[in-house]
């Protein structure tokens, strides 16, 4: 059993505006093995709040949450070691600046594992491994994390969480601010980690192309409600995603437009550019 949300709501309180409910009555189940899930929704729909619940960084205002057998309620329970939950569910924040602080990349990656009573030598080994996993070579180990480029910083921050060897990995917009090629490399990497280690990976993203191409399960948030939970194909084929303030993937948009303008009868649900191109060729030849 991985993570289960039971009627979870969360409200932010502020002095001037009173209570603002970020997520409402969420019911959700995530198993700890072999899932590859996209979490989508417009800005302010409660995606990040939902993600912060997954490793008990914040507690639900109402409802309960079960994470690897620990029951999380609205109060801090002294019997629960919250650090254990964070070891099992790793959360990578959107901006690497919030977590990088050591003078070398190696030390920074070691910070996570060392908090979980792992020896220095072991942590060093883990740092090397996880840096390789995110596609950076050993020459980065001795560099200063603040002198890296945006994409490299992002990879280092992901490596910092990977080194903790969590069972479930949650990433808050890991591809934001990267160029298209960089996005794909990173997504391939996550897919690869998911397939080789069987870790469940949950990724928050705004990029519908990536969602359609890579993920088999998708969660859609809209105004704090979980609107959709199911197969990615089902989302784009059966639902009108514009209702959720989302966009269609480019392949679907282009093929739909061509169908309309040229009176063709193509199957618009093609995941990659290559597949879309093949479909167009097939339609034009006929």
């Amino acid at each position: 059993m991985g993570i289960r949300f039971n009627e979870v709501s969360y409200g932010y309180s502020s002095f001037a505006q009173g209570l603002y409910t970020a997520i409402k009555d969420i019911n959700l189940e995530i198993t700890e093995k072999n899932e590859f899930i996209a979490l989508v929704g417009h800005t302010g729909s409660g995606k990040s709040t939902l993600a912060k619940h997954m490793n008990a960084l914040i507690f639900p205002t109402s409802g309960t949450l079960e994470i690897f057998g620990h029951t999380i309620t609205n109060k801090r329970n002294k019997k629960i070691k919250y650090n254990d939950i964070r070891k099992k569910v790793g959360l990578v924040f959107q901006f690497p600046e919030y977590q990088l602080f050591e003078e070398t990349v190696e030390k920074d990656i070691m910070f996570g594992p060392m908090n979980f009573q792992i020896t220095k030598e072991e942590a060093k080994k883990l740092a090397k491994q996880s840096l390789k996993l995110v596609g950076l070579d050993d020459s980065y180990l001795s560099r200063n994390p603040y002198n890296l480029s945006g994409g490299e910083k992002k990879r280092v921050s992901i490596a910092g969480i990977l080194a903790m060897d969590p069972d479930i990995l949650v990433l808050d917009e890991p591809t934001s601010g990267l160029d298209p090629a960089g996005k794909r490399i990173l997504m391939d990497l996550f897919k690869n980690i998911n397939e080789t280690t069987g870790k469940t990976i949950i990724i928050i993203t705004h990029d519908m192309d990536l969602v359609y191409q890579y993920f088999n399960r998708v969660l859609v948030m809209n105004d704090g409600h979980l609107m959709f939970d199911g197969k990615t194909e089902a989302l784009f084929q059966k639902e009108d995603v514009t209702d959720y303030h989302l966009d269609y993937p480019n392949t679907i948009k282009v093929l739909k437009y061509l169908n309309q303008e040229l009176n063709l009868n193509m199957n618009v649900f093609q995941k990659t550019t290559a597949e879309a191109l093949a479909e167009i060729k097939r339609a034009v030849k006929l």
Partner: protein
């Protein structure tokens, strides 16, 4: 953190919201000076009543102000206690023989344990603390059996001490209430603009009031932002296993660094972005700027100023007589 009302602006309507910030600053200053001129407790109580009447006139919820005083409570209690213990003038009102014996120690430890246990179960922390303090007092005075560890001593409360402590606490209360009214009803930007205008004449002696006001308004503006960032950093490090409510002290010290470094880096990044944004909107330091909202005096301002001058005059008259 969010319950601290001092320095907070709460949007609303009322007499004080319509006043010019300059008037409010001057009025608060004048009334504060008057409060310091007062000499007897009766006068001070009248002063407190005036402050409360001001709150009522301004339609500011007294409950909110009292709630906001909570963090100051500790300061007030300490001043009260220190005044009582250290001031040794006048006749003694309370004179109590105190003993410190082996059993006293035992009872003290017992009382401490009971206090901490109850504190875990119920929430009235202040009340419990007072009960504990009273308990310590009773133990020290009545447990007189057993071998003495220290020599018995006399605990005295003098009339002047009691009066002085009451005096100081009421004075502090008035001052805090007044300044809360000022910050509660004035936007930080208006406040700094008022300060800037008031200090403008000081330019002749080389004091640049505009830069000063800018510094203040930027710092005020960035307090919530930085606070927000600190919160995010804390969460990010907590998800790397650096949770401050768990773990040993040695680990915690290391983890503090993991908060401070990103904090500084982000503060520097923010300031650089702000500088760029200001420059790209043609901000030149020291150049004359125009304002969207110019300040102007109304009838209410004149009345408020006259009122505060009257209070000062009254206080001076009372002092001289």
């Amino acid at each position: 953190m969010k319950s601290i009302i001092i320095g907070q602006y709460i949007p609303g309507k009322g007499l004080f919201y319509r006043l010019d910030p300059r008037t409010k600053i001057i009025a608060v200053l004048l009334i504060m000076i008057s409060v310091f001129l007062l000499e007897t407790i009766e006068q001070l109580l009248i002063g407190l009543a005036t402050a409360i009447v001001l709150l009522l006139i301004g339609k500011i919820s007294i409950l909110k102000v009292i709630k906001g005083l909570k963090p100051i409570m500790i300061l007030l209690i300490f001043t009260f206690i220190f005044q009582i213990i250290l001031n040794r003038e006048g006749e003694a009102i309370v004179s109590q023989q105190m003993y410190f014996t082996v059993y006293t120690l035992l009872f003290l430890i017992l009382a401490f344990i009971v206090w901490r246990l109850i504190a875990k179960l119920i929430r009235y922390r202040f009340t419990l603390f007072f009960l504990f303090a009273a308990g310590v007092f009773l133990i020290l005075s009545y447990v007189d059996f057993g071998a003495n560890i220290a020599n018995p001593f006399t605990f005295n409360i003098y009339r002047a001490g009691l009066e002085m402590s009451f005096f100081v606490v009421v004075r502090l209360l008035i001052i805090i209430t007044l300044s809360t009214v000022l910050t509660l009803t004035t936007k930080p930007t208006d406040l700094t603009q008022g300060l800037e205008k008031l200090m403008h004449p000081m330019k002749k002696i080389g004091f640049d009031s505009e830069s000063f006001a800018l510094i203040i308004s930027i710092s005020l503006r960035y307090i919530p932002t930085i606070f927000d960032e600190a919160n995010k950093i804390m969460l990010a490090q907590a998800s790397r296993g650096a949770d401050f409510s768990e773990g040993k002290l040695k680990d915690k010290l290391r983890q503090v660094i993991s908060l401070l470094v990103p904090m500084f880096i982000i503060a520097f990044m923010r300031s650089e972005e702000l500088a760029n944004a200001m420059e790209s909107r043609n901000f030149v330091p020291g150049e004359k700027r125009t304002r969207i909202n110019e300040l102007y005096f109304s009838h209410g301002d004149i009345i408020a100023t006259i009122f505060s001058f009257l209070i000062l005059a009254l206080a001076i008259v009372l002092k001289v007589i």
